[in-house]
Symmetry: D2
Subunit: 495 residues, 4 copies
């Protein structure tokens, strides 16, 4: 099959997966700031495909470009990059959680303060964002977007502190939830991570200049060196001095507890070549397959991944079980990147637009099908059916993560709880019947903890954020406690 080409996405008429909101990147003091930011965002594209924005500062004026679509669609254009002069820049790539795909929601967001401009880029979700927003509006603030990030911007603008970095810290102290945030002021690049450390944020360095980004893959693409993770609750302030030197200061909470990274970063979100919390995502996924093979062995002829998410776990499962790994499902790389609503006839072809069975590998075989996770189960049904039509003798599903029961409030876009497969059926057997497989097994929670961290779950104080499996939320849920907040917004409908 031709190598060069591709181009998907979507056709996700029957959306059966989770989505994260964003990737962030920032660099200070480098002459190719905007270009490096564009490349970093390109490497973080899997964290958000709806839109991307970059803000740079040239010593006098801030510059901004925001575009719907992929990074590579716009930010390879010499004209676009020429509009972003300066040796410091931050960028953001966005996945839209709401239906509103408006440019005004594209980050970084910018505000002109009395003390100078500030731009911020944010991955995550605040658990008290609506509550603060309501207070802001009550005191006369005008909110233009529906994003949490604007709330932070208002807190900065209203802070009584003099310096922009102090205002930023002041604002960070008031928000709760999961966040990885980068800010650019005239002379500073600032990074902040939420107190629990739910969302990832790493620090790197290129030619001696500091970089912050969501994942290490954004360092790799530009040949930058990984330094360390930003710690949970930490604020790092890099300042370009007048002599050209960069000073780096860090503010850490006194009573810092161990970070609890979101397990779904390992299961599904992060790129396999990234290192998150010091652990290889690829190895973690392969381990999930290995533990899965131990916990849920299966008589089978071939191990087949649901591409591409299930592939590392399938390699692990195959190595552990000795059953050969085969590409029994071929992915169509050209799923159209279009917002056109397809005809009913085409919609009916659903999963086949994206995947097709590789009949010679499947026919007459007992297939061990490895998927990374099951959300609603609707895709699983179609894949099992497709494999059976291709002649599979048996289809045994092995899922490389536990069942999902609870919604997320830290930046993952989850369907409503009632639509989750695990909440629709009382037991494995009925789920398996629903999906139409011959057997169905999920990785245990401890299996997942072992695969990722090498230890079973400490139930008293879990090592990771895992509420979607357990209901054990790592923070208060302020907005949820004030449920009337939730539907208060979006009084303006932009057609």
């Amino acid at each position: 099959m031709a190598k060069e080409v591709f181009c998907e996405p979507d056709f996700s008429f029957d959306d059966d997966s989770l989505h994260e909101e964003c990737g962030v990147f920032g660099i200070l003091g480098h002459n190719d700031a905007a270009t490096l930011t564009a490349l970093g965002l390109h490497a973080l594209q899997h964290r958000g495909q709806e839109a991307a924005g970059i803000v740079s500062y040239d010593g006098t004026v801030f510059h901004q470009e925001k575009h719907m679509g992929l990074v590579g669609d716009h930010y390879t254009n010499p004209k676009t990059l020429a509009n972003l002069p300066g040796d410091r820049a931050i960028g953001h790539t966005r996945y839209s959680t709401t239906g509103e795909t408006a440019l005004r929601n594209v980050q970084p967001l910018f505000a002109e303060l009395e003390v100078g401009g500030i731009a911020i880029a944010h991955n995550g979700n605040l658990t008290n964002g609506l509550t603060i927003r309501r207070q802001l509006i009550a005191s006369g603030a005008i909110c233009q977007s529906t994003s949490d990030s604007e709330v932070v911007l208002h807190l900065i603008a209203r802070s009584r502190h003099a310096k922009s970095s102090e205002r930023f810290v002041d604002a960070i102290r008031q928000i709760e939830g999961g966040f990885a945030m980068i800010a650019l002021t005239r002379s500073k690049l600032i990074a902040a991570r939420d107190p629990v450390g739910i969302r990832p944020l790493v620090m790197g360095e290129l030619d001696g200049k500091p970089i912050f980004c969501s994942e290490t893959c954004a360092l790799d693409i530009i040949g930058a060196k990984y330094i360390r993770d930003v710690e949970n609750g930490e604020v790092i302030i890099c300042q370009l001095q007048k002599n050209g030197e960069i000073t780096i200061n860090t503010i850490k909470p006194k009573d810092r507890k161990p970070e609890k990274l979101c397990l779904f970063e390992y299961v599904y979100f992060a790129r396999p070549d990234s290192i998150i919390g010091g652990r290889s995502v690829y190895n973690a996924r392969k381990n999930m397959g290995i533990y899965l093979a131990k916990e849920a062995p299966c008589e089978g002829d071939v191990v087949v991944p649901v591409p591409d998410g299930g592939t590392p776990a399938a390699i692990g499962y195959a190595q552990q079980s000795g059953i050969p790994f085969e590409l029994g499902i071929i992915r169509n790389h050209y799923v159209g990147r279009t917002f056109i609503e397809p005809t009913q006839q085409i919609r009916a072809f659903g999963v086949k637009l994206k995947h097709s069975a590789n009949r010679p590998v499947i026919e007459g075989k007992r297939v061990v099908l490895i998927d990374d996770s099951i959300v609603r189960g609707t895709t699983s049904i179609k894949i099992v059916q497709m494999l059976r039509e291709a002649g599979a003798k048996e289809v045994h599903i092995r899922v490389a993560s536990p069942m999902i029961f609870y919604p997320d409030f830290y930046g993952i876009d989850t369907p409503e709880a009632a639509k989750l497969l695990a909440n629709q059926y009382p037991d494995l057997k009925s789920m398996c019947e629903f999906i139409g497989a011959d057997s169905l097994q999920f990785l245990s929670l401890d299996g997942l903890y072992m695969a990722v961290g090498g230890e079973v779950r400490n139930n008293a104080d879990p090592q990771f954020t895992d509420h979607y499996f357990t209901g054990d939320y790592p923070t208060r849920l302020v907005d949820q406690e004030n449920a009337d907040n939730v539907h208060k917004l979006s009084v303006l409908n932009c057609g």
Copy 2:
């Protein structure tokens, strides 16, 4: 990593692969003709991503839609499909071999004849196309496009035969080269394959209605049944009778010789889940890896494919050698589908935009790198360098096909001969040095024949088309013999 999304293509600044020209699809007598054609073309998207067209006939009028871009970009749109009424349709997806990406070259091409309209869709290349074109112009024909298909259309229009199907056969008799052609007249769907059988063309059936398409994957996506390959030199004429029945007639050459399919369909072009000439493409590729492991064994710690083309061979190599298969290179699915010329800085990142090394898998390891083929070698250099930067102890390249020495004239877009790696260096050792690998081995020609067909090459009468490896062209090269033809054309430059 997020499953849903993707969207590449391109960023092929440093184009180091081969391209084929087209995929074709046609169906007669089915109420969803245009929708099924769109889906079939979507499955054939890997054969051409520049543009796609569909012509349908509704019993009274022919309808046409042609669009630059991917099938999924346009042909999922209910409006577009509603513009293609009727129970018979043919479609074409195009890869542009020339710089001119103009709508007027997008197929199917249509002509109004005295006996009614005819549309044709063509995959391949004529070896006497320019020669015929010169004759046509001399006798007063006006050529609007630069495509071979227009030449065929003129031959049909000028044929003295009465019926359109007879005219089509008359035209087919005059052309030489590699072609898989589908035509639609008011009541007939006609398929023709070149006398040697270089380009593939299969026949299928859905709800009792005949289908022709380039590969079986286009049958699978719509749940159609594979019937047989169109034979080399065969013309099949399906006619919708007034009573609604469909009659099928076939015209075969008397002295038919065995077909000689293009080996590159197996090595690279066809989708792995397709069955070409009765052979699984995936299995053929896996076999190439198996034979490669036998011919060119290697002390290594991990077998790593150059994704996605090298993956099946890598699986075969790993199974045969016992060295574990690992995803040591991660592919970025979001390479931008844009025609914007990127900045020099971004261009410099070259292969990294598409691929990244998965460091934890590579670091300190002896890597056996499997690629499907090497054309110019420029990408190989960068991949080896990337793996070394990720800490690979050794990099041994094993290529699942022989060295390429000769250009193609049957529909594959090859670089000029002098730029082919095999023509630039006298021996393996110097090629290996050029690429920077620790060792380099290619699959032997007999190894490839064994992997695909189970027999070594019959040098007296080879079982496959293999001139790119051997210089042994399966037909005359008429236009090449009249070399002055070649630059005669494109007197009109459409800006």
Copy 3:
């Protein structure tokens, strides 16, 4: 009111006027050939607003640009003009008579002949175009467009003559109807006008280089000098010699009769500042108003034109009658140039989107309303109603041309005969009632002849083409005689 801006067109939901098809322009030997052609076409924009094209020749290769929309939308772009190098160019601006607004119908049309390329641009309509087209298809020609011009191109391509200019003359001899045609070969600029001289075509000169164009206003915009009209039946061949000199040869029919220009050019089509057949269009229109005032005097307080067509006649009527000329109707210059079908509510506002009554001028007044012509009368109804709502005491319509009874076949897009006002009502009185005016008078045919040419109509051999008023067609109507031709075409529907 702001001077600068404007931008209409259209909103012609209720189309009640005639349209002509095209304007043409060509120049040979001038370094700014494409730029001058673009400017000339801009001055001819009133003859066609759908699309514009330019073909240039740089001594080696022909270059082409074709764009939907206005000349100023595309041909001011430096990139576009840079794509049109060379010192000779021809251009065309097109009004679409059919619903199909496809680029493939945009002129100039180009063909590569054995003797080199040729491009042609054409204003008018052939009366034997369909008949020839049928013959061409029967003998194997492939027609890509639905335009008459392609027929001419085929005749040129099939001519047995050696030189392209001889082939052009050969083709011209075979066609009938009304046409003004310009052709560009590698070294020649050729102009031809139909034997009757229905459509205008003038010759000018800039810096010693020959120019042909539809009207003198295209000479004025570039500061070129008017030389003479191309005569009816004449072919003028300008050739650029190798020494840079330009030779001009002319071929005239032996038995040339006096030309008979289309009267509607004077009444409505031509720009008022053009000189057609040696007569000022503005003065002709003003004269129509003067004769109208003599033939159809009226007791009134104000003379009000229907802008902009009726303005010169209204000035003439006011001067002759002594009734003051006032702008009683204001035209909205910003009628949107959009293909969006408006909502029913907006459509209902019809004429008001384009015109509004100037109440202080109208209120309590007896209005003498001057229009250039009445086609269907539907607009007149609405204007009368609008004036009455604005308080007009009386509305007397005076039309500066005779009643229209017959369709045109020489390039004017006329509604079907039954929809013409003059064919719907038996007498002036009932037409006046239909329109709702207090009185209605048309200029007499002799009045029009006097206004334009200074003599009454020579009924034995009329001085002008006037069949829309009289049914007296100046040529045979070959295609009409073979009525089955008419609906033979457009077998292909491009959605």
Copy 4:
């Protein structure tokens, strides 16, 4: 010349005219609110062609559409209007005074307040806008746009009053300058006009529902009845009661002084069919011509307007002087509406792209050329030259307004003072030489006052705003007094 057509604007490479910023429209309680608003904005298109926006409220949610371009380009689209449900709406059409043509500056602007949403649309300019903006930012407000209207929105959001209408009045009290403002809250349509009454704003009624708009022509297009002008300093609050009745309250300043409308509305901005301050704009302009003929008589053969602005005055001049009115300059209606920067060659044709001389009217004549105003004089030079090239024996310019010396701060976009013709030359004679005319005369200030208001200027307390002629500003210029404000803004450059 074809009637139907259209479409300019611009080609204003050599911009030599004044521009106003906006037109506003609002309606309460009518089922076709958005459609009527679109039509009203279409009639106000001459006040701003860059962009247009509409906000509607459907009883639950506010809806918004904003588009660059003309009203007719977008707001005739059924889909667009369907996105604007509800029986109340306000709209805005914008002329951009700055280079930044960004959607975020397109009005109406919207804010969600604690008490519900509010949208505002504004024509004019605040003289203390920057001063307030600086105060707002100092107290933590975030400004997204660069428009004065956002300042008003912030004042509303921060007001301590409970009801949105009270907040609006509170905000209006704090701003200074020239403004005509319309606001929409959930149940109220509010209109406000500046204390001096510089910008126009009228009240009308359709089917018993209140309407506010900039000019009466927006009432005429929808057949609405004019009620009265909003008075200077007045705020009118229309509220839709729960029983469907509409109550109307008005708040007037106690010590209201007579309004002083901007004279340039009469000279140039307003549509000729509008009634401003109870006076017909057309009649005012015709009167300017009449007074001009009295003040500055001229021996001439023809009176020729510079179209279209000079036409009414030319009619007046002709009637008063007895010299015949003729269309000696023809306007090209098709000046392209494009943002493409034209080539230098085309730019050089300057005024000819928009205007052409009607030679038969001009040749050998003494031309009295009537223009509405002269700003920089650069266009006048070209027009005089064009007339001379067309054979004019003499060209005498008569300008229907006085010389312009001073910049405007109330919503008119004036060139810097030094570029105004009147500031570049010491006397009429040298101006006339610069322009190249045979004579040059301007209407006197008293002549203009007589033409518009029937009385000479009361120098102690002028009846109109006339500072561009006199330097006599009708308000304080707060921002100008704090000159450092001026360049404080636009810290963010959106490429």
